[in-house]
């Protein structure tokens, strides 16, 4: 190879390298710079209401993207939004992210002020961050008018849409209602021999528990390690929010609270007598779970139930469709469902799951307007009816209470009842700090048996108060 030839080769090589590198650099820098967020962004004016005939999108937007967790309701939503193409002329794509990384991915997108997604179906606890840190578009002006807010179950509005609570400021439309409930083995509960033995031992009839005390008796009754049968499965997982959600079911039903929502004080409320009794009770339930249940969440609860290891299983309603399906649960034909029973004073509450759909504040005004237009369509009674038919858990009260909805699945009656009595953990911007504390301390007591219920709640209350003070919420 002559030097001249070599020189040309070098030049060619460098030219290609520079051209390729330059293209990459341009591609990397090519995204439009997102608008700076404001503390309380206002919803843009939406175009006129859509017609039923196919129409070109009024805003010139042809595609919208929603991010949600990877689970069945997201598939139902993808199915539902196919109808919107005909009505609004916009393709709506539902991007699904596995649950363990869902929150991290969404918040990393917020941190980057990214425009990859136009809407997010976010956890109820994200409302504080979404509202105060400028990630969500405020929907207050549109909520009761355009978004059919008055048709929603009141508790779902409070927990999925409003922040701060009680102020009438809205940041999301309650899309997927969800809460903790129970599945149970009817074949065991209705077995005459079991009924007789239960009556002899406890002096009451074996049936769907009306109180938490009944539930504990039933759990104890069916706990037979020699037959690899146990009373129940409950949430105990340490990572995430599982054990806190599980305990909330008894905390609220006993009349306890996480703190005073007006003063953000936990001391004196969370470590009060009722909360302590509720925690002692939850730990009692842990005696009747199968071995190896120290880190259980929804998947493990399903596994215990479908393998025939437990008589009852705590879980979010969103996971019950699989239990009513014989392809995924061999006991499907004899699986029943019930809502949380009542506490000692007759109060009954359930820990809230589920999510509301919000518009992300970093997208263009056109995309915000198109997203609002989409939500206006989504909130209509007939669309919510179809959402429920597909398997989504609507928060629309008229659909929830309709005979059609109640008869649709074996778990819908319990769901409709539960959605009237839901309560949630804190939704403040520092909720993750609060959760880390409650998860660790509750796990130490419930699973490890360290300390007492009183000392556990004293520790949580003290540390929660410190977090509130540091965040400037508690004066």
């Amino acid at each position: 190879m002559s030097q001249d030839t070599f020189g040309r080769s070098r030049r060619q090589f460098l030219r290609w390298t520079l051209a390729g590198g330059g293209s990459l650099l341009l591609a990397a820098c090519g995204g439009a710079t997102p608008a700076a967020p404001t503390a309380a962004p206002a919803a843009p004016e939406a175009p006129a209401a859509p017609t039923t005939a196919p129409a070109a999108p009024a805003t010139g937007v042809s595609e919208l993207t929603i991010i949600w967790a990877e689970w069945d309701p997201a598939n139902y939503l993808q199915e539902l939004v196919k109808d919107y193409k005909a009505v609004g002329g916009v393709d709506v794509k539902v991007v699904q992210e596995p649950w363990p990384s869902f929150g991290t991915r969404v918040f990393a997108e917020f941190a980057a002020k990214g425009q990859a997604y136009d809407m997010v179906v976010g956890d109820s606890q994200w409302l504080g961050q979404g509202a105060t840190q400028g990630h969500y578009v405020e929907l207050t002006d549109k909520f009761n008018s355009d978004l059919n807010g008055k048709a929603l179950a009141p508790a779902t509005v409070t927990y999925y849409a409003e922040y701060p609570k009680g102020t009438g400021k809205y940041w999301a439309y309650p899309l997927e209602g969800d809460a903790c409930g129970w599945c149970y083995r009817k074949d065991l509960f209705e077995d005459p021999a079991e009924k007789e033995a239960f009556k002899a031992k406890y002096g009451s009839d074996l049936g769907v528990p009306k109180t938490w005390a009944d539930l504990k008796n039933i759990a104890e009754f069916f706990t037979r390690p020699d037959k690899n049968l146990y009373g129940l499965s409950i949430y105990t997982q340490k990572d995430g929010d599982a054990i806190t959600m599980g305990y909330q079911n008894t905390l609220f039903s006993w009349g306890g609270e996480w703190g005073d929502p007006k003063t953000y004080k936990a001391e004196g409320v969370l470590n009060g007598k009722l909360a302590v009794e509720a925690l002692d009770f939850y730990r009692e339930l842990y005696k009747f779970v199968p071995p190896g249940s120290a880190n259980d969440f929804w998947q493990e609860s399903i596994n215990h139930f479908t393998s025939g290891q437990v008589a009852m299983g705590m879980n979010f309603f969103a996971f019950f469709p699989g239990l009513a399906n014989e392809a995924s649960n061999k006991y499907a034909a004899t699986t029943g469902f019930f809502s949380n029973p009542a506490g000692p004073d007759g109060k009954s509450f359930a820990a809230l799951g589920g999510q509301g759909i919000s518009i992300i504040n970093y997208v263009s005004d056109d995309k915000k307007a198109a997203s609002l237009e989409f939500m206006r369509w989504l909130a209509k009674d007939d669309v919510q009816k179809k959402w429920a038919e597909l398997g989504g858990y609507t928060c629309n009260n008229s659909v929830l209470q309709s005979a059609e909805f109640l008869g649709n699945t074996p778990f819908n009656p319990a769901f409709a009842e539960t959605m009237q009595k839901v309560k949630d953990f804190w939704a403040v911007p520092v909720y993750a700090d609060l959760l880390t504390i409650s998860q660790t301390e509750l796990h130490k007591f419930i699973v490890n048996g360290e300390g007492t219920a009183q000392s556990t709640l004293d520790t949580i209350a003290k540390q929660h108060d410190e977090v509130f003070k540091k965040a400037g919420l508690q004066t």
Partner: protein, 303 residues
């Protein structure tokens, strides 16, 4: 001579001397290093002195040493450091013993030794998250195979991941299963480099097996052994995915390692400034430990 002059002129005219070409290759590398390594390193150092949260939409406020002070005065962090130290010591020691033992067994070729070596190496090629999920099932006290293999009747064995006294050992066992093959691989490389004549000379001198091991095998393989210890110590100190897959840091906080706590600060809680401070504390510790190893390694090399 005239041809050489012509070529040199052509080369200069096109501006592509060897030096220029060298620089054109170096600059992108340097730019990438600065953008992706050096800048983040110094930027995170700056953030560690602020109250910055990546999602709060607020500028970083300088708070001096407050993050470091809060972290170093937090008894929980010290407990996590103790747990991490115990975990690193136990897992690296066992990996060393098991890995070196396997290498000694496999150093001589025999029928099927190749396939056995390959099979032993499989665990280190798996994703830690997948390993965590598999071992969660293997440890399950109701139907997992682990308790059965160590002699417990079905359903009566300990709950390895649910018992606070056993959970850390449960994670250590999985780490050893996964990474002892890596130590074995490095030891095999060291053992194969020992010249046969040393052993022949020892045999002629009627040296015993233990003497040969202590005077020939161990000294000759120790530089690679120390490199294995160095790498495994650094990696074990950063263990995150295995713990999240197996226990999530529980029961209680029995397996809450520093890297897990760092993740909680950085992501679910988005305390970016404080997480950066903790990351720097971890960096200083790992650098300190690594320096001790490297110093010792150099001493061994020098002889």
């Amino acid at each position: 001579m005239a041809r050489v002059d012509r070529l040199t002129r052509a080369d200069t005219r096109h501006g592509l001397s060897d030096d220029t070409l060298k620089r054109l290759f170096l600059w992108p590398t340097l730019a990438l290093l600065i953008v992706f390594n050096i800048f983040p390193l110094f930027y995170s150092l700056y953030l560690s002195f602020t109250d910055y949260s990546a999602i709060a939409n607020k500028p970083a406020n300088w708070i001096g040493l407050q993050n470091y002070s809060e972290l170093l005065n937090d008894p929980q962090i010290w407990r996590y450091f103790r747990t991490t130290g115990l975990y690193v010591f136990a897992s690296v020691s066992l990996e060393l013993l098991v890995g070196f033992g396997l290498a000694l067994l496999l150093r001589r070729k025999f029928a099927g030794s190749g396939i056995i070596t390959t099979l032993i190496l499989i665990p280190m090629m798996l994703s830690p998250v997948v390993v965590g999920l598999f071992w969660k099932l293997i440890y399950n006290p109701s139907y997992g195979i682990f308790n059965y293999l160590i002699g417990f009747p079905a359903g009566l064995g300990p709950d390895w991941l649910g018992n606070p006294r056993l959970a850390l050992w449960g994670v250590v066992i999985v780490d050893v299963w996964m990474w002892a093959p890596y130590v074995m691989l490095l030891c095999l490389a060291g053992l194969s480099a020992i010249p046969d004549y040393l052993y022949e000379a020892a045999e002629i001198d009627r040296a015993g097996g233990l003497f040969t091991f202590l005077r020939i095998t161990l000294p000759m393989v120790s530089p690679l052994l120390l490199i294995a210890v160095l790498f495994r110590t650094i990696e074990a100190f950063k263990t995150f995915d295995l713990v999240m897959g197996l226990t999530g840091g529980g029961p209680g906080d029995a397996t809450e390692l520093v890297a897990v706590d760092l993740y909680r600060l950085a992501f679910p809680q988005w305390q970016t400034g404080k997480a950066s401070a903790l990351a720097y504390i971890v960096l200083v510790i790992i650098t300190g430990v690594s320096n001790v190893y490297v110093k010792y390694l150099n001493q061994i090399k020098q002889g």
